[in-house]
C-alpha cells in the first residue's frame, strides 16, 4: 500500500515537473541561441536546419513559420531600452538606424503574435514608406492616439511587442554585437 502511494507520488511529481517545464520553455522561450542587441532579441538559428529543440517545439506549438536564413532575420522587442515592458497606452519612440538590409519591416503584435486592430489599418512600417530625417535616421512614434510623422497605432492594448524583420541582410548567425548590427533605440517618452 505504502509503496503504491510513494510510486504514485513520484510519478505525479514527474508529470508536473516535466510537463510544467515544457510548457514554460515553449511559452516563454529559452536563452538558447539568442542574439540580443539593446532591447532586441533574435534567434538566427531558427531559420536553419540546426535549430535547437526548444525553438522547434515552440514553433510547432504556436503554429509559426520561422523566417528562413536565406530570406532574412527577425528581431523582437517586448521591453524598451530601460527594460520597461512596452505599454500601448504610453508614447514609445523607436529611433535611430537599422542594420544593413535591402528592406526591413517593423510590425506591432500583441503578446500572442496577432496583429492589433486599429482605425487606420496600419500594422507596421516598411523601410520604403518611412519618413526620414536629412541624415537618414528615422523616428517612429508608437501611441494609441494619432501623432505627427511616423505614427504606429497601438489600439490602446496594454502589452505589445515589436518585430523588426531585416530582409536580404548580412545579419545572422555570425552577428554578435551592436557594431555589426546597429539596432534602433526604444524609449518610453510619456505615459498618460
Amino acid at each position: 500500500m505504502r509503496l503504491t502511494l510513494i510510486t504514485l507520488l513520484a510519478l505525479f511529481i514527474a508529470t508536473a515537473v516535466g510537463i510544467g517545464a515544457t510548457w514554460m520553455t515553449t511559452t516563454r522561450g529559452t536563452e538558447l541561441g539568442t542574439l540580443t542587441i539593446g532591447a532586441w532579441t533574435a534567434r538566427p538559428r531558427t531559420g536553419t536546419s540546426d535549430v535547437d529543440p526548444y525553438s522547434r517545439a515552440t514553433i510547432t506549438r504556436n503554429g509559426e513559420l520561422p523566417i528562413g536564413t536565406g530570406d532574412g532575420v527577425a528581431f523582437t522587442a517586448a521591453r524598451d531600452d530601460l527594460k520597461k515592458p512596452l505599454d500601448g497606452r504610453c508614447d514609445v519612440v523607436v529611433s535611430g538606424v537599422t542594420p544593413a538590409a535591402r528592406f526591413w519591416t517593423l510590425t506591432l503584435y500583441d503578446r500572442k503574435g496577432h496583429l492589433v486592430a486599429n482605425s487606420l489599418q496600419r500594422f507596421g512600417f516598411t523601410s520604403e514608406e518611412i519618413v526620414r530625417g536629412a541624415d537618414g535616421a528615422f523616428e517612429i512614434r508608437i501611441a494609441s492616439r494619432s501623432r505627427a510623422g511616423n505614427w504606429l497605432p497601438t489600439g490602446g492594448i496594454e502589452r505589445y511587442q515589436l518585430m523588426l524583420r531585416l530582409y536580404d541582410t548580412p545579419v545572422g548567425v555570425a552577428t554578435r554585437t551592436q557594431r555589426d548590427a546597429p539596432m534602433p533605440a526604444i524609449a518610453t517618452v510619456g505615459c498618460p
Binding site: 511529481i13 515537473v17 517545464a21 514553433i59 510547432t60 513559420l65 528562413g68 536564413t69 503574435g113
Partner: protein, 195 residues
C-alpha cells in the same frame, strides 16, 4: 521521512526526462502547427494565395502584413516538383519547410539572380536517381533536396507600400508549382530540341 525525500528526488529526476522527451516529441505530435493549419485551405502540389494578414484572419502568428504570401503544400511521393516564381518589383523570396516546420532552405530574388526563380525540389533518393547528364548538372538548374517527402513552400512578395499589394499578389499569382511527370524522358528530349 527519508523515503519521502527520496520519492521527491526521484520524481524530479523523472520529471526532467519527461520534459526532455516531451520537448523532442512536440514537433511530431503538435496538431496546431502551421502545416496542419494550412492543410484545409491549400491545394496539394499547387499554389494557393493566402489572404493578406490582418487582425481578423489570424491563421498563423507573426505573419508580416507587408507581404503577399502564397503557399505550395507539396508531396514528393509522386515525383519531383518544379517551382517557378516570377520576381516582383520590390523583393521576392521562397522558403522551404519540412512537414515539421524546419526551415531547411530559403532563397531570395537577388541570390537567384534572374527574373524568375526556378527550382526543382526532390527527395534525396530522387536526386540520386537522376541520370548523370551534363545538362542535368548544368548550373542554371537549381536542385533542392527535401529532407521529408511532404512540406511547405512559402513564396513571399513584398508590397513596399500598402498600395502596391495588388501588384505583389499579381506577381505571385503567376507562379507555378507542379509535379514533374516522366522526368528522365523529358531530360532526354530536351537537348535535341535545342539543337
Amino acid at each position: 521521512m527519508i523515503r519521502l525525500v527520496f520519492t521527491i528526488i526521484a520524481g524530479v529526476l523523472l520529471g526532467g526526462i519527461v520534459h526532455l522527451v516531451s520537448v523532442l516529441l512536440l514537433p511530431r505530435i503538435a496538431t496546431e502547427d502551421a502545416y496542419s493549419r494550412l492543410t484545409p485551405i491549400t491545394k496539394l502540389n499547387a499554389v494557393t494565395q493566402l489572404a493578406p494578414a490582418d487582425p481578423t484572419n489570424a491563421l498563423m502568428p507573426y505573419m508580416d502584413p507587408a507581404f503577399a504570401v502564397a503557399i505550395c503544400r507539396y508531396d514528393l511521393s509522386g515525383g519531383a516538383i518544379k517551382l517557378k516564381v516570377p520576381v516582383s518589383q520590390a523583393y521576392t523570396s521562397v522558403s522551404f519547410y519540412t512537414r515539421n516546420e524546419l526551415a531547411y532552405y530559403a532563397i531570395n530574388d537577388r541570390s537567384a539572380g534572374k527574373k524568375v526563380i526556378e527550382l526543382d525540389l526532390m527527395t534525396e533518393a530522387q536526386h540520386n536517381d537522376l541520370p548523370e547528364d551534363e545538362d542535368v548538372t548544368a548550373a542554371d538548374r537549381l536542385i533542392i533536396d527535401s529532407p521529408t517527402a511532404t512540406g511547405l513552400i512559402v513564396m513571399k512578395a513584398l508590397a513596399a507600400e500598402p498600395g502596391l499589394m495588388p501588384q505583389a499578389q499579381a506577381s505571385l499569382a503567376a507562379s507555378s508549382c507542379s509535379v514533374q511527370t516522366e522526368m528522365p524522358a523529358k531530360q532526354a528530349e530536351a537537348p535535341q530540341a535545342r539543337r
